[in-house]
């Protein structure tokens, strides 16, 4: 009887000890046993979660452009899953190609994909094994090779390595994950602006046009992107258009001047015309129609095709008369006619 009571007390003590060791005696650090969704991060990291949720990383699975029949076709093209719903980067290894995952695909490039470490802790900027997700200071999280596991599939990181930004040590985070309100104490913004942020795109390039004796010289320059403009190999495009300005005020059709883009891999006869970092490219508008006042337009496109907004039918570039119906305006400049006052 006494021995039985002793065993019971010992067992109770052991239970108490183990429970205290595991939980640390605090409700706050009772993290989930299994990470199954980035929603599990929301309660503690409300601000970060909201930023991420509004980002294109969060939409990498749901983005209609990605799901379109001409692209992943609702991910029936499974080649797209590798980067659009990757396994945790630290599981496959920084610098290695990512692998596709089977679960929570609709969360896209999520908290778990970027932060979960193989030991079950979360990569972060601080060490705190007592917090629910047991953050572990992991400097690799800030390295360009880290972003490169997906983005260097489009050579973006390789392009960056050849720039002055790389020499200064200003990497991906400098532009795409800035400090909140510019304050390092506020941490980095998880919205990660990129090609969907028109303001950022417009800050990367300049457009000037100047009349000379023969016509108009146009200069488009990549002044602030620390990689090619646009960087994405397959889907992004930027087009230059121009049109004469009629005295009557009538809006004449736009004419295509130049396309800046890297072709899809099957477009073997289409040259790559990416505008590399710090590159300026001169183009000419000549001929009788270039003698009067005209305007030049630089647009950015998330898909390379121009489509009829009503029917979805694609246009050949030469058939497009209103590029802004299926693109975003980046810059527009006006050039006076020959002999007109400046």
């Amino acid at each position: 009887m006494r021995m039985g009571a002793g065993i019971f007390v010992s067992a109770l003590f052991l239970w108490l000890l183990v429970s205290l060791l595991i939980t640390g005696g605090s409700e706050a650090n009772a993290g989930p046993q299994t990470w199954t969704s980035s929603r599990q991060c929301m309660s503690c990291h409300e601000e970060v979660f909201a930023e991420w949720q509004d980002s294109w990383h969060a939409r990498s699975w749901t983005d209609p452009d990605v799901r379109a029949p001409s692209q992943s076709n609702n991910f029936q093209n499974k080649d797209c899953i590798d980067c659009h719903a990757p396994r945790p980067v630290f599981e496959t290894g920084v610098g290695n190609r990512v692998l596709p995952r089977s679960s929570r695909r609709s969360e896209g490039v999520d908290c778990i994909a970027c932060h979960l470490l193989p030991n079950g802790r979360m990569a972060g900027t601080i060490d705190n094994p007592r917090a629910a997700c047991k953050p572990q200071a992991t400097v690799q999280l800030q390295r360009e090779d880290y972003c490169g596991v997906c983005h260097n599939q489009h050579k973006t990181v390789d392009q960056w390595r050849d720039t002055a930004w790389a020499e200064r040590g200003e990497g991906c985070l400098h532009c795409h994950m800035p400090f909140r309100d510019g304050d390092p104490n506020r941490g980095r913004h998880h919205g990660m602006p990129g090609g969907h942020d028109l303001e950022l795109v417009a800050s990367a390039v300049t457009l000037t046009a100047q009349r000379d004796a023969n016509g108009v010289g146009v200069l488009v320059s990549n002044v602030a992107a620390a990689h090619a403009y646009p960087t994405d190999e397959r889907s992004r495009a930027s087009d230059l258009w121009w049109r004469p300005l009629a005295e009557s005020g009538e809006e004449l059709p736009w004419r295509h001047l130049h396309r800046i883009r890297d072709p899809y891999r099957w477009e073997v006869d289409v040259p790559s015309t990416l505008l590399m970092a710090a590159e300026g490219r001169e183009l000419r508008i000549d001929g009788p129609d270039a003698q009067g006042p005209l305007e030049v337009l630089l647009v950015y496109k998330l898909t390379p095709f121009y489509r009829d907004p009503a029917s979805g039918e694609p246009f050949a570039l030469g058939e497009v008369t209103d590029p802004l119906s299926d693109s975003q305006e980046v810059h527009r400049v006006r050039v006076d006619g020959a002999g007109e006052p400046k």
């Binding site: 429970s19 209609p64 080649d79 995952r101 089977s102 929570r104 695909r105 009503a310 979805g312």
Partner: protein
């Protein structure tokens, strides 16, 4: 401290009282350098094949003369240069013929005659010259003719490259001859392109030629042309004429498996390798299944993906995939592959991976796979896993989608409809599952399903127009509302 915090201690205490047995279902397989060893072995065997001899300087004019003769001959006369190159000069002519073929300044008929002579030589080096033209020639007619001549050789090592070219080819006429060459090597990976051309070709000639090629393949296989694609995509693919792969082709296959390795960073090569391998015949499933035990995790996972994409044609890999379920890093991909290849003994093994305690990633994959098997034996596990109040949402959605595929969609349709309106849920996934449920009900002529499917489809935007995120959200909400209005009627409640 809350009562919940005591739980881990209790669990540990109870576990300590247990027998300590391994909770894994079976031991993880041993891994090794499978790809490296296969490549080394094949390369050792191939090393015995000699390169073609060089052409004696005095015979260059002779080769040129044969090219000219063939280009200008008709009928029986054509046999003279063909026989001379085959019987007299032989492979020594390959280098000179390659110069003719590649020289775009030469007359077209001379280049084509040189290509024909290369084809007649039926030699690995000649095939390489022709294949490079198929891949790189800027003139579509050159690509077409070289594909034609390759198809008349026994050089089956070009099959993977023909399949890759077919992926990127944009010239419809070249499609035809790539498809013909593949069929001649008993590969049916070009069927879809030929069927498309037979119905939607640019002109009568193209449509007729495609139909004739399909008919010829069907005659050889002793089936109807309309049966070929179905057979190729099924477990009966082995009933189609099967090739006997040469060492060279097997070497090419293993080179592609090696492309899947972690050593190759760019996905471009990986995508091509996955595409080509998954369009090969059933023998490749048997050939590459050992790569599921390679020590490179990328090779293992992508091999499982290849088998998954081959689908029922890869049914022979079922046992190897079952073993792979015990490899934690490979198990989810192996489970998904088992679902597609349709290996019936896999159902209990998959079901065992759906229960709490298994890795979440594996549970989701196993649930999805059970639906894809189409086998009703998976229903109990799916029903057990579909617990929206306690299980993660993505797991429930995988179970719900699988239940739809096993014709038990009525049980989950109300929950799936709720997902359409939840901005944090996988609305698009729920939408696809519900459309399948409506379509199946409509096909089965269930009351109200036809009209509901029609209304559902009417809510889609114009085909070809890519909607904005807001438009997608509106569409999901609209479809959810529409469905909720008729759901009770559809379910007969």
């Amino acid at each position: 401290m809350s009562p919940r915090a005591w739980t881990p201690g209790l669990v540990l205490l109870l576990a300590a009282c247990g027998d300590g047995s391994d909770p894994e279902l079976s031991p993880a397989p041993e891994l090794g350098p499978v790809v490296r060893e296969r490549l080394a072995e094949l390369e050792r065997q191939l090393a015995t094949v000699e390169d073609p001899p060089g052409l004696e300087p005095g015979r260059v004019e002779e080769v040129d003369g044969l090219v000219t003769m063939l280009a200008s001959s008709k009928g029986a006369l054509r046999e003279v240069p063909l026989e001379a190159i085959r019987e007299d000069i032989g492979p020594a002519a390959i280098g000179r013929l390659a110069e003719h073929v590649a020289d775009s300044a030469r007359e077209t008929n001379l280049r084509l005659a040189a290509a024909e002579l290369l084809g007649v030589l039926d030699h690995p080096s000649a095939a390489e010259v022709l294949m490079r033209q198929v891949e790189q020639a800027s003139e579509p007619w050159m690509r077409s003719w070289c594909a034609w001549y390759l198809g008349d050789t026994t050089q089956d090592q070009v099959v993977p490259r023909l399949l890759r070219r077919l992926r990127y080819e944009k010239d419809p006429a070249t499609f035809l001859w790539l498809g013909r060459a593949l069929l001649n090597f008993e590969n049916y990976g070009g069927l879809a392109a030929l069927e498309d051309l037979a119905t939607r070709g640019e002109d009568d000639n193209q449509r007729r030629t495609a139909a004739e090629l399909l008919q010829a393949a069907a005659d050889r296989a002793d089936f109807e042309p309309s049966e070929l694609a179905g057979l190729w995509a099924s477990q009966r693919a082995g009933e189609l004429p099967q090739p006997t792969p040469t060492l060279r082709l097997r070497h090419e296959i293993w080179k592609l498996v090696n492309e899947l390795s972690e050593e190759h960073f760019q996905l471009r090569g990986v995508d091509d390798a996955r595409h080509v391998l998954s369009n090969m015949g059933p023998w490749v499933a048997r050939e590459i299944a050992p790569a599921l035990g390679d020590s490179d995790a990328h090779v293992r996972l992508h091999t499982a993906q290849v088998l998954e994409r081959m689908g029922p044609r890869a049914v022979s890999s079922g046992p190897a995939l079952l073993v792979a379920l015990a490899d934690p890093s490979l198990a989810p991909a192996a489970a998904e592959a088992l679902g597609r290849v349709g290996h019936p003994p896999a159902v209990p093994a998959l079901a065992a991976r759906t229960v709490p305690g298994q890795a979440h990633e594996l549970r989701v994959a196993a649930l999805r796979a059970l639906g894809r098997t189409g086998l009703a034996e998976g229903l109990p596990s799916l029903r057990a896993a579909f617990q929206p109040n306690t299980e993660p949402t993505d797991l429930c959605q995988a179970a719900a989608t699988a239940l739809v595929l096993l014709d038990a969609g009525d049980e989950v349709a109300p929950w799936l409809a709720q997902q359409l309106a939840d901005p944090l849920a996988d609305g698009e996934g729920a939408e696809l599952a519900l459309e399948t449920w409506l379509w199946r009900g409509s096909e089965a002529e269930r009351k109200g399903f036809g009209a509901a499917l029609e209304a559902w489809r009417a809510a889609a935007g114009p085909p070809g127009v890519i909607p904005s995120l807001d438009q997608v959200r509106e569409r999901l909400v609209q479809r959810g509302q529409q469905l909720n209005e008729v759901l009770a009627g559809l379910l007969g409640t």
